[in-house]
């Protein structure tokens, strides 16, 4: 038993050296994940700020000025310039100079004075449909605000907004609270794949893997030796990433650390397992890299990281059940935002443990098969 332990630790030590001895490899493993966490967390947001817009005001009345003042006073909008023809509008939107043109016809103030509704026309660049939808919401809010003011100025009781909205767990609907926990999962997956996906393939190319197989080490010991460094690196980086998420981005961490770390442990296990399985299946490093991407890219896209799983067709939703990142994202979001404890997340832990163990067993199986 003691020898067994020593053997595994020796092998782990060798793997550690193999990973970290090369200066470039060391840099790639440590620096980019942290830099990317910060850059991506700032970048990945659906909230809009400083949207450049143009005004096409054909109305000389007072009301149009009042309404437009509400646009220029909002921090969401930034006036690029005023235009006075359809042609200019087209040029600005086609060339992506502005996302929105607010158009007021010459009858706007007159209509309002007469007591008939005036119309604001919002011309929106629909090339990025999601941005356009959010933008429309902002415009709607400004027009609604003006309507209330107008009504109260003219002695009409302002109609109370019929719908009152409350958002749980994320009352101000901040994108960052949704995205940053997701980035923790994304980067943990990338790191655990980087550590393992090419490792067996490299030894195969160098011929050292055959040497390893003729030693008294059993496949399970080789596997442990290969994944222990991954655990150490994965844990250290996850901790750093979680610290940045809570301290720099102020994402609330409402659940317990135990629930979080149990999730990180099982997810790292499944990430390393999948990486090792890919590595043991291929015979060259190029194939290993291809395999890593073939797993990584769909795993990220179909995880619910940016686009909800509920929007996917049923067949693809079923496919996501195989995706470890999907479960980890549930764990991360529930622990960070909803304050979940260990008990509530048992199904997710179970799924991750299952994927991890199964892929490690398969990896061990393919190790042996290759020699025969």
């Amino acid at each position: 038993m003691k020898y067994l332990l020593i053997r595994i630790l020796r092998l782990a030590q060798k793997e550690f050296l193999a990973l970290l001895r090369d200066k470039k490899s060391r840099m790639v493993l440590i620096v980019p994940p942290l830099v990317q966490l910060i850059v991506f967390s700032y970048a990945a947001t659906f909230d809009l700020n400083h949207i450049s817009y143009a005004v096409w005001n054909e109305d000389s009345g007072e009301y149009s000025r009042q309404l437009l003042a509400r646009f220029s006073g909002s921090t969401n909008f930034q006036l690029l310039r005023s235009v006075d023809s359809e042609k200019e509008v087209k040029a600005l939107i086609d060339n992506r100079k502005v996302l929105l043109v607010v158009h007021l016809r010459s009858t706007f103030s007159r209509d309002l004075l007469r007591g008939t509704p005036g119309t604001v026309e919002a011309i929106v660049d629909g090339r990025q449909s999601n941005t356009a939808m959010i933008l429309m919401g902002y415009v709607q809010t400004i027009v609604q605000g003006y309507n209330d003011e107008f009504a109260s100025l003219h002695g009409v009781t302002p109609p109370i907004a019929p719908i009152e909205l409350r958002a749980w767990y994320n009352p101000n609907l901040k994108s960052r609270w949704f995205i940053v926990p997701g980035i923790v999962g994304l980067l943990t997956l990338v790191v655990s794949l980087l550590v393992t996906a090419l490792s067996v393939a490299r030894e195969r190319e160098d011929g050292t893997f055959d040497q390893l197989l003729v030693t008294p080490l059993a496949p399970i010991e080789i596997i442990l030796g290969k994944i222990i460094p991954g655990f150490v690196i994965g844990f250290a980086e996850s901790t750093a990433i979680v610290l940045v998420a809570t301290l720099l981005f102020h994402v609330p961490l409402r659940g317990t650390l135990l629930a979080l770390y149990l999730g990180i442990f099982l997810f790292t296990l499944s990430g390393l397992g999948v990486g090792l399985m890919i590595s043991s299946l291929v015979s060259t490093q190029q194939q290993g890299l291809l395999g890593a991407f073939l797993f990584l890219v769909p795993a990220i896209i179909l995880s619910g990281f940016a686009t909800p799983i509920a929007n996917m067709p049923q067949l693809i939703q079923d496919l996501t059940l195989l995706n470890p990142l999907r479960y980890f994202l549930v764990i991360l979001r529930e622990v960070f935002l909803q304050g979940a404890g260990v008990f509530l997340l048992l199904p997710e832990y179970g799924a991750l443990a299952g994927i991890g163990l199964l892929s490690l067993i398969l990896a061990g199986h393919f190790f042996r098969k290759r020699i025969g």
């Binding site: 809009l48 949207i51 999601n130 415009v139 109370i160 909205l165 190319e205 060259t284 996917m312 935002l337």
Partner: protein, 378 residues
């Protein structure tokens, strides 16, 4: 190093290209990257990625059933956006929201019938799960929309309920139905091309360094430029095939309109592919080692192209210093070009500056490539 005449040069390059092509054909993984990868990814992405919520399960609680509330709920039932599920009281609905059986709760209060006539109280309370802020906002938008449609219909029937002094008329250009797939698919093609470019070439030079065959090549009359050209040409052909496949699938399978011309698409794709292959070759030359090259390719190509290119997250929403960073991501220029070529047409004001940027990127990468390759031999 000797170089010789022009015709000898051509012969040498042709021989090297031939050797490289043979290598591609013998190792099926390169062909897989160029042909199978784009098909697979477009299928998964095209069907899997959507920001349009449909049939969102929503809990409906009616404190008292009046004709007015029944009418409103009926409107909800016919909406493509929601699948209403009925709960007897607010407590059971809250429990369902906590279990995440529903995305939100629509609570029609006791005073629903009265307050829609007087507008003195909130008639409708909506609770959403805010964890996914985008879906939450969509649910809010859809509900407001359903509400306004319902009010409008009542008004048309002669019962004036509310007077809106200013009405809003939105005109959505280029994508009037606001299909998120129409803007995601062009972006996806850019992400996939980045992947293909980097995957194809990030290993090829590192592999020759590892095996020592590059040193043998240097002792022949072949110049560095010729080696680089021979590494570039076969992969360029493969990459363009992948690009063609992606465009055909995007247009015919996913029915994304293609309003620009084929020429623009071809020229800009060639420029971008050159940049992407150049990045792979630089990674390969810098690392000299397949293991490190593979790690760098994963970290520096896919994730930035996914998050910083404007493919899903709009660059307009990013803070200034991140917007500055997006300028060094070649994919961000190509995403902008593709979104315009597919949805809006050949708009010179968009195509020309972005193509020029791509041209400078590829020129820069190849100059760097020649510089570092020369240094590496010494």
């Amino acid at each position: 190093m000797t170089s010789g005449g022009f015709s000898e040069r051509i012969v040498r390059i042709r021989a090297l290209v031939f050797k490289e092509s043979l290598q591609i054909i013998r190792d099926p993984s390169s062909l897989a990257i160029a042909i199978i990868l784009p098909i697979l990814l477009l299928l998964i992405f095209g069907y899997g990625v959507s920001l349009d919520a449909r049939q969102v399960p929503i809990a409906v609680v009616q404190d008292s059933r009046t004709p007015a509330s029944e009418g409103f709920v009926a409107g909800l039932r016919h909406s493509p956006w929601f699948t209403p599920e009925f709960y007897p009281d607010i407590h059971t609905a809250v429990a369902a929201l906590k279990r995440q059986d529903v995305e939100g709760i629509l609570w029609l209060r006791e005073n629903f019938g009265r307050s829609i006539n007087s507008f003195r109280n909130h008639a409708v309370h909506v609770v959403v799960n805010g964890v996914d802020d985008n879906t939450a906002r969509l649910v809010e938008g859809y509900l407001t929309n359903t509400w306004q449609t319902w009010i409008l219909q009542r008004n048309l029937r002669g019962r004036q309920l509310s007077f809106q002094p200013v009405g809003l008329d939105v005109r959505l250009w280029f994508n009037p139905d606001s299909r998120s797939r129409d803007f995601l698919v062009p972006g996806l093609i850019a992400v996939i091309m980045t992947l293909i470019g980097a995957l194809l070439t990030s290993m090829v030079i590192a592999r020759e360094w590892e095996r020592g065959t590059l040193e043998s090549l240097f002792s022949t009359p072949v110049t560095i430029g010729e080696i680089l050209i021979s590494k570039f040409v076969p992969y360029f052909v493969l990459g363009m095939m992948g690009m063609g496949l992606s465009v055909i699938m995007g247009h015919y399978l996913f029915e994304v309109p293609l309003r620009g011309t084929m020429t623009t698409l071809l020229v800009t794709s060639a420029l971008f592919l050159t940049t992407a292959l150049g990045m792979g070759l630089v990674i390969s030359t810098v690392s000299k080692n397949q293991f490190v090259a593979g790690q760098i390719a994963i970290v520096f190509t896919f994730l930035p192209a996914f998050i910083l290119s404007g493919f899903i997250f709009d660059i307009h929403s990013m803070p200034l210093f991140i917007r500055v960073i997006t300028h060094i991501i070649p994919a961000s220029y190509f995403v902008t070009i593709l979104q315009s070529v597919f949805l809006a047409g050949d708009i010179p004001g968009v195509i020309i500056p972005n193509s020029v940027a791509l041209f400078f990127f590829s020129a820069f990468l190849f100059i760097v490539l020649v510089k570092i390759s020369k240094k590496r031999i010494m």
